[in-house]
């Protein structure tokens, strides 16, 4: 049992890190083409080996620790932002259950009965890494970036949590595995039970808040290259910077995976193997993220705040109330 679990852990960690690496390639390529450029073309065919080149470059760079940093927090911050991003994948079911040598293997590292709660608890921990990075760097840009990150996190966490309450009300469970199984359908309309059709508003809210949670454009206030140099990771270099970079992409993958699981039926789908369906859905989310980045400029800080509190929050409440009324009347 332990053996199976450790194999699953290793497979998932390797898959997520590989996914992060090639998400950077995907992002550069897609944004490049959206801006009339070609993106990376040098390393390998279509620049596919670019992530490896980047990794080697980052590893061999000098790790600069500026004088005046709070050393313990400075070293801890990248790890603290990286680990919560990876933890999310512990509860996301990535394929249908399989049977191997008579054992039934659940294709999820840990089938928690409070899966969603775990996901939301862990993703909001990620901001501690950013806050620590900003505070310990002793640089005004970093500090401003991390302040923005925490303010943004508090504002959007509320709507983020409320956006999936509708699903929980309908499904009456918090386990991600059960949620996925609930969304399966044997008919030709295999997608008919997906929660995105029952909770369209909830889905839009989830999508918006997830972008704000992962600090991606158009909500990338903590980084804001044009205002804050690089935001919370201004003072970081070499592998510490790379850890922040990877954790951003791991976060993206995490919210994509959770979004695919909650709203698009996870691994459910006809003909293709379940793992392929899951990866396909996550890929669609990632493409949307990148598409969004290639399309819209950054929000102004006050716009971001008023949008979070005056638009998303009332809509999320409305969604919960309407769903609750429907569930009660059923």
């Amino acid at each position: 049992m332990i053996l199976i679990s450790s194999v699953k852990v290793i497979v998932v960690v390797v898959a997520v890190l590989t996914g992060c690496a090639w998400s950077t390639w995907l992002e550069r390529k897609v944004v490049g083409h959206m801006q009339h450029r070609m993106g990376p073309t040098f390393a390998g065919p279509y620049g596919l080996l670019q992530p490896i080149a980047d990794f080697i470059k980052l590893i061999f760079k000098e790790d600069i620790v500026p004088s005046g940093v709070e050393r313990v927090a400075y070293g801890l911050a990248p790890v603290l932002s990286f680990i919560p991003a990876m933890l999310v994948f512990a509860v996301v079911p990535f394929a249908a259950d399989a049977t191997l040598f008579g054992h039934e293997i659940k294709m999820v590292i840990s089938d928690l009965n409070i899966g969603i709660l775990f996901v939301f608890a862990v993703t909001s921990l990620g901001v501690y890494g950013l806050v620590m990075a900003g505070w310990s760097s002793g640089s005004k840009y970093s500090l401003l970036g991390s302040l923005r990150a925490s303010a943004q996190m508090i504002s959007y966490e509320v709507s983020y949590g409320l956006s999936i309450v509708g699903i929980v009300l309908i499904a009456n469970t918090l386990s991600l595995r059960e949620l996925v199984e609930m969304q399966g359908s044997d008919s030709i309309w295999f997608f008919s039970n997906w929660f995105v059709f029952k909770q369209p508003l909830g889905f839009l809210l989830y999508l918006t808040c997830a972008i704000a949670e992962t600090n991606r454009l158009p909500f990338d206030m903590p980084e804001a290259e044009s205002e804050l140099v690089a935001g919370y990771h201004t003072e970081y270099s070499s592998m510490r910077f790379a850890t922040f970079f990877v954790s951003e992409y791991a976060n993206m993958l995490a919210v994509s995976a959770v979004g695919a699981t909650l709203f698009f039926g996870g691994w459910q789908g006809p003909y293709l193997p379940s793992i392929v369906w899951f990866i396909l859905k996550v890929f669609c989310f990632m493409f949307f993220y990148i598409w969004l980045r290639g399309t819209f400029p950054r929000f102004r800080y006050d716009q971001l705040m008023s949008f979070g509190w005056k638009v998303l929050f009332p809509l999320a409440l409305l969604n919960v109330i309407v769903t609750a009324a429907f569930v009660m009347l059923d």
């Binding site: 009339h36 070609m38 290639g294």
Partner: protein
């Protein structure tokens, strides 16, 4: 309430328009080239790095008169004369500092012997400043040379501007 309505309008009416624009360009051919592998064709009149012409028998055209150095607004040309075996005047040292050169083309305008031309080469990256000091040996063209495309263009341009033909 006003904000909510505005956001709804933006999400359902305006944001799709933006998405359509970027996805349209995503499927279009990029305007940039895969540069070191593919290069954009140069304009015929492009002024790149200089080269020195020869006569058909191989002797250098340059007589080291110094007009190009006099015309050069960047003061990039240095030369010293000598005599060749037939007792004709030619350059012993002819150097162009490509870091000073502004590629204006005044040297080829000034040259009475049609000896110096600006070619199409524009990739001069190097590791040392000293390697940007181009000598006569580096700039002289190979001896057996059939045609000089730049000379034809140069003459056509002069004609178009109504400049008199030089002695050739």
């Amino acid at each position: 309430m006003k904000e909510v309505l505005k956001a709804v309008v933006n999400v359902f009416l305006k944001m799709p328009l933006g998405f359509m624009v970027t996805i349209k360009y995503f499927f279009r051919k990029p305007v940039t080239l895969d540069y070191p592998h593919k290069k954009r064709p140069m304009a015929p009149r492009y002024r790149g790095r200089h080269y020195l012409e020869r006569y058909d028998d191989g002797t250098e055209r340059c007589v080291c008169c110094g007009l190009c150095a006099a015309a050069c607004p960047a003061d990039a040309i240095y030369m010293e004369p000598e005599e060749n075996e037939k007792g004709e005047r030619r350059a012993r040292i002819y150097e162009i500092n490509l870091l000073r050169c502004i590629f204006c083309g005044f040297c080829e305008e000034a040259c009475p012997e049609e000896a110096i031309f600006l070619g199409h080469e524009y990739e001069f990256s190097d590791y040392e400043r000293s390697s940007f000091l181009w000598t006569k040996e580096q700039m002289l063209v190979q001896h057996p040379r059939k045609d000089n495309p730049f000379k034809r263009i140069y003459r056509r341009v002069r004609k178009a501007y109504g400049a008199p033909d030089k002695i050739s």
